[in-house]
Symmetry: C2
DNA sequence: AATGGATGGTTACGCCTGCAACCATCCGGA
DNA sequence: TCCGGATGGTTGCAGGCGTAACCATCCATT
């Protein structure tokens, strides 16, 4: 009976993630009209240079349909180019165009600025949060719901 | 350029929340075919006994349309009853029916079990996580995206 | 008593999502 | 060579979501 939703970990995690994430999403949505999957795809490609859709999905923990649609959206803006693999024609190698790399560079600046903002907002708590997230990552990520 | 999405706090928070939350949602979805807003509404009413939709929204950080839909769904299952306020007929007081309280009791058991599972999975990390979440809550919750 | 603004709650619309089914291609074994 | 299963990727569909517009009701002011 005396169960407090306020104290339930999944609930708290969700709310915190929502809040932290939306605050940043508001920045790039307003500027570039991008969705989160698009931003993540851009970030992954910007960092690694050349990946397949499957690799992006694995790296970013996104469902493959999400990746597929994000890739199409980025391609339509000419921020991304596809290249069919010569040896295995199912595979598409993805890479950013010059315009895509330019946008990526701008977004990295935004991201870094937001990281600093978070650091000052959270103070020492940020270290605890990072430690806790590491614990979740090693214990649970990848594990399918029982 | 060398920006690693893997290390970006909003991203990590989201992934952890998704993982922790989905794992539990799978339990009650499978058993009761409930959505998260419905579960949260049930939990809030089970704990407080009698609330209005607006109060539930404020308490659980849910958009009022979410609450509205969850209330209707729970009402259709006869787990919840509405009662129009005599003095102010805009207000609807909500409370669980006997059946609703029964389900709530079952779900509290599930939630507690999951809390224990998390505690063993995360080990000491759970304390760090809770501290980090507290920091986020005091620093950011309620604050609208700039 | 009348009115304009505030409040509780619902709903039409369009966007995003995951599931499942699908297409094309590859590969290993008969 | 042919076939069946596996893999990369796309899409139809149904459902959840937030925005904005909406209805009903209340209340303070006049």
């Amino acid at each position: 009976m005396d169960f407090d939703l306020e104290a339930f970990l999944p609930y708290r995690l969700n709310r915190a993630a929502e809040c932290v994430s939306l605050r940043f999403a508001a920045e790039y949505r307003g500027r570039y009209d991008m969705t989160r999957p698009e931003w993540r795809t851009l970030a992954a490609l910007g960092a690694k240079g050349r990946m397949t859709a499957t690799e992006i999905g694995a790296h970013s923990a996104m469902h493959k349909t999400k990746v597929s649609r994000a890739v199409r959206a980025l391609e339509e803006r000419r921020w991304l180019r596809r290249q069919v693999d010569e040896a295995d024609r199912r595979i598409e190698h993805l890479e950013l165009t010059a315009a895509g790399r330019r946008i990526h560079a701008e977004m990295v600046v935004l991201a870094r600025r937001y990281e600093e903002e978070l650091a000052t907002l959270l103070g020492d708590g940020i270290r605890a949060l990072e430690a806790g997230l590491s614990a979740v990552e090693t214990a649970m990520i990848g594990r399918r719901p029982a």
